[in-house]
């Protein structure tokens, strides 16, 4: 049996094993969550970012089992492999996008995901109060998702946005850093 690339795995699963839902529904639901959080925290956008991250974390720790169960994947051999899986399988299966992986650091422990297309932020304009544009990371839930999912496979990472087209930047870029491998939680027999 030929070894499949992450891209092939992602395409395959997306086409055959995923129930699809209307994209507008996702955009609207997410939008109302962010809007409600802003209201609840009286526009303290730093808090909102934190809440989105926490929600994302809870999603991520569950999402990983779904990916593993559906794709039958083996452990990634390097952080580069992990990045490929995240982009070509993870984001493909759940959002049907494959963000570009760029800007690797020298020690291969940091990379960026560039989102040309972000379904979460379709039709969105940040509030005009002068604060949101500097403080709110609209899609911050994705950072939490990555953090949670990778933690369950024994990788402690930090994920944060460094630019967002909603803020007037040129690109939407998320920086992912490997902090450490959680050796003591590695299941037995895995190297």
């Amino acid at each position: 049996m030929a070894v499949r690339t992450p891209r092939q795995i992602g395409e395959d699963v997306w086409k055959t094993r995923i129930e699809k839902v209307n994209a507008e529904l996702v955009t609207l639901t997410y939008g109302s969550v962010v809007a409600q959080l802003c209201k609840d925290f009286t526009n303290d956008y730093i808090q909102v970012n934190e809440q989105l991250d926490k929600m994302g974390y809870n999603i991520g720790i569950r999402l990983i089992e779904d990916i593993l169960a559906r794709t039958n994947s083996e452990r990634c051999r390097s952080f580069k492999d992990t990045a490929e899986m995240i982009s070509k399988v993870g984001f493909k299966i759940f959002l049907n996008i494959t963000p570009a992986i760029l800007n690797w650091s020298q020690d291969n422990k940091q990379f960026s995901l560039i989102f040309d297309d972000n379904p979460l932020s379709d039709f969105v304009e940040l509030p005009d109060d002068g604060k949101a544009i500097n403080e709110l990371w609209y899609s911050n839930i994705l950072c939490g998702v990555l953090r949670g999912a990778l933690e369950m496979v024994q990788l402690q990472v930090e994920a944060k946005f460094v630019s967002d087209v909603l803020r007037g930047d040129d690109t939407t870029e998320m920086r992912v850093t490997l902090i450490r491998v959680l050796e003591d939680e590695m299941p037995v027999g895995d190297e």
Binding site: I64, N72, M152, V153, E185, G189, D190
Partner: protein, 134 residues
């Protein structure tokens, strides 16, 4: 294909799900099951250690006169133990399907706390139907 029981162990060797499907094994108390799970988790780990060649996994298959136990460990550290009749084939596929059901009806249940005992009715029903169909 006769499946006797399924055990699911969390990362910390805790037994979070146990179910018998067919007669074939003795009935044990819930305490017995807990002890058994802890023992298996430890033995699974040591089996990797005593390997004559490097980088062995833990126990994958255990064969006895009356049953066959297959262990599937996910990358997240959860173990699925399937106990079936002695010369059962195709346990791999069964375990994969069970993992899918687990990912769907347990993990995606927002009210289920990860690593806690599994009390999800949907999981029970779908699992029961799947095992019955074998």
């Amino acid at each position: 294909m006769v499946v006797y029981s399924l055990y699911i162990l969390n990362k910390a060797a805790g037994l979070i799900y146990q179910r018998d499907f067919n007669e074939g094994l003795r009935k044990l108390s819930s305490n017995d099951y807990l002890v058994l799970s802890g023992t298996f988790h430890a033995v699974h780990a040591i089996a990797s250690r005593i390997s004559p060649v490097p980088s062995s996994s833990g126990i994958e298959v255990l064969e006895t006169e009356t049953f066959r136990l297959q262990c599937f460990q996910t990358l997240t550290g959860t173990k699925f133990l399937l106990i079936s009749e002695p010369r059962q084939q195709g346990s791999d596929a069964i375990l994969r399907r069970i993992y899918e059901l687990y990912a769907d009806y347990v993990i995606k249940n927002p009210f289920y706390q990860i690593e806690m005992p599994v009390r999800c009715d949907l999981f029970d029903r779908h699992l029961g139907a799947y095992i019955k169909s074998l």
